[in-house]
């Protein structure tokens, strides 16, 4: 196997919410706790979990949009954890992000051409004509007409806006794109178009994706490997098919069983999760899932399970895997 393009080692990130003496006092929300991850060139790694589990935080931390409190991020062999923004800037060309809500991630007051040209200008892509040519090429790549360059984002539909977001992300020929729920704001029919477009682009441009989603169906369609997160921790990681068909972690199983199965014959016994997920401000000790786990035992309450290899290309963090 080739060397990973991105390695995350024991990343932790805590947010401080509220003021020390403010209403409710100061809260420390542990969004990431000792997360480790490797991403290989050319693959699509899915990142899945309930909302609030820290997957978006992980995505943003990997891109150094947030600075981790502890741990290491190694991108293309370089440790970027403590790099200054200025030193990081050349590397930014190689790692990009696509956001969930294209209407929020595109400044409504700037024209599409201006928006897409922004990275080209910042990274001194070349003269005006060269940029213009590149813009048209990009529009073509994402399936939009070059005439649309002079329009404003609000003149487009949601799907078209996401195409613009993609065009901007690929403008500098990055190697890695982290797509943070890129399709969850879109209609289902459009979702497939975007997922297909992303797959096409991956093929053409040799891209690596981290594809964040809460929708298992999308992950199944888009990702070869999947990492399942719960309360700031990766509980299971492995090939998508393996994980989906034979989940090893009880949380993964519950997640999968919650997905409506189109084929009634294939319906399995459903594991229904009890209650709300605990607050990330006050995560339970031991296995973070033990409060809701059907198989929880005494040990789960005190001892935190580490991510351990479990079968081929798979790791699970559970004392009593399925």
């Amino acid at each position: 196997m080739t060397a990973p393009i991105l390695i995350a080692e024991n990343l932790s990130k805590t947010f401080h919410a509220g003021r020390r003496f403010g209403p409710g006092g100061r809260q420390n929300i542990q969004a990431l706790s000792n997360v480790s991850l490797k991403v290989y060139p050319g693959e699509t790694l899915g990142l899945v979990g309930e909302s609030g589990c820290g997957k978006s935080t992980l995505g943003r931390t990997l891109l150094k949009l947030y600075t981790p409190d502890a741990g290491k991020i190694i991108f293309q062999g370089q440790d970027i954890t403590r790099m200054s923004e200025r030193a990081l800037r050349p590397l930014r060309a190689n790692m990009q992000m696509v956001f969930q809500d294209p209407s929020a991630s595109l400044n409504p007051r700037r024209r599409v051409g201006d928006l897409i040209a922004e990275p080209l200008r910042v990274h001194n892509y070349g003269a005006r004509e060269k940029i213009q040519a590149r813009l048209e090429e990009l529009m073509h790549l994402v399936g939009l007409a070059p005439e649309h360059l002079s329009r404003f984002p609000h003149e487009f539909s949601g799907g078209q806006r996401q195409r613009i977001g993609l065009a901007r992300a690929i403008a500098l020929n990055p190697s890695l794109i982290i797509a943070d729920e890129p399709v969850s704001a879109l209609d289902v029919s459009i979702q497939a178009q975007i997922v297909n477009l992303m797959a096409d682009l991956q093929e053409q441009l040799d891209l690596t994706y981290i594809f964040i989603a809460h929708d298992l169906a999308v992950i199944r369609q888009a990702a070869e490997r999947v990492a399942v997160m719960y309360l700031g921790v990766i509980v299971e990681i492995g090939d998508t098919d393996t994980v989906m068909l034979t989940p090893a972690h009880h949380y993964t199983a519950a997640l999968i069983s919650a997905v409506p199965e189109p084929n009634p014959a294939a319906r399995r016994a459903r594991t229904i999760l009890q209650g709300e997920p605990p607050s990330p401000a006050n995560p339970p000790p031991g296995c973070r899932f033990h409060t809701r786990c059907p198989a929880a035992q005494g040990r789960c309450k005190t001892e935190r399970p580490e991510l351990r290899p479990y079968g081929e290309n798979r790791e699970v963090a559970c004392h009593f895997p399925l």
Partner: protein, 306 residues
């Protein structure tokens, strides 16, 4: 856009003040004219009319002719011409103060909201202090100092009779009213996805500020502009009324109301006319403000799209 038209008319009229004084009223609205007289219906009439008993002198009332159209003030000056001249100062001060207020508020709001941390805390504290300082008290205190001694700040020297003093004072006192929402907006902009996207693209902070944050802030400032100008207009009038705004012989609508206060019982037109002028202008500005807000406010736009 009627409001806009009215404003244009008012501004034009005030700009035409010298022309009016020279060609219509034919008097110097800044020179006392205590022993002059004019001809009305063929009769010479004193501008300052002494009572038969020898007590009290009453200026001539509205003649509704080109000279002394609205009568004279206690210096025998043509009130109509003074209102036009005064309007220039009132508008100038209101506009100047608006400019200062919005610039300062924009700067403070952006710096506080975008830099966060220590700088933000300091600036937020300063805004808190200004906010809790009763507006008129602050304005009056500052005026008391500046009007009587002028301002010397390093190389900058402002004469105590300069219009810049009321402009600066009024500009400063309302800064927190604008800076607070701007700071809030910048804070939310700084956390917005498109700024995050820009960071992700490797856009330098300065460029993000310039390209992504500033245009949004400026839009907000433009929405604020007519409303602040209306507020400043009223504040200027109040300060001048308390004789700590524009200093004689210069006039503003506020000082003319003050002049008229002493003649309220005999010549109410002197005080009423500039008050109406203020009201008309402020109404126009407020309506203009509503218009601008509807044109710029994203929420309003969404509603239109629906």
């Amino acid at each position: 856009m009627l409001a806009f038209a009215i404003l244009i008319v008012i501004i034009a009229a005030c700009l035409a003040a010298p022309w009016y004084a020279q060609n219509i009223s034919q008097s110097d609205p800044f020179a006392s004219n205590l022993d002059g007289s004019i001809t009305l219906a063929g009769q010479p009439v004193d501008i300052m009319q002494s009572a038969d008993t020898g007590f009290g002198v009453t200026p001539i009332g509205p003649t509704w002719t080109q000279k002394y159209f609205l009568g004279a003030d206690d210096q025998g000056r043509d009130v109509a011409a003074r209102i036009l001249f005064g309007g220039r100062n009132s508008l100038l001060i209101a506009a100047g103060a608006t400019l200062i207020c919005l610039t300062l508020a924009g700067l403070i709001g952006i710096v506080a909201g975008f830099s966060g941390g220590f700088v933000d805390s300091i600036l937020a504290r300063i805004l808190d202090i200004l906010w809790a300082f009763p507006v008129y008290l602050l304005a009056i205190s500052l005026s008391a100092v500046l009007i009587s001694r002028g301002l010397k700040l390093g190389p900058v020297t402002i004469d105590s009779d300069s219009l810049l003093i009321p402009i600066a004072i009024i500009g400063i006192v309302y800064v927190p009213y604008v800076a607070r929402p701007i700071r809030g907006q910048v804070l939310s902009l700084a956390r917005s996805d498109f700024v995050l996207a820009a960071v992700c693209l490797g856009v330098p902070r300065a460029r993000i500020l310039w390209k992504d944050i500033l245009p949004n802030v400026i839009t907000t400032l433009i929405v604020f502009a007519p409303l602040m100008m209306a507020l400043n207009m009223l504040t200027e009038a109040a300060l001048s009324f308390l004789s700590i705004g524009v200093q004689p012989p210069a006039a503003s609508w506020g000082t003319i109301i003050l002049d008229g206060e002493g003649l309220l019982y005999t010549r109410p037109a002197v005080a009423i006319a500039p008050g109406l002028a203020i009201m008309l202008t402020v109404v126009a500005l407020n309506f203009l403000g509503d218009g601008v807000r509807e044109a710029f406010d994203p929420r309003a736009k969404i509603r239109v799209q629906k």
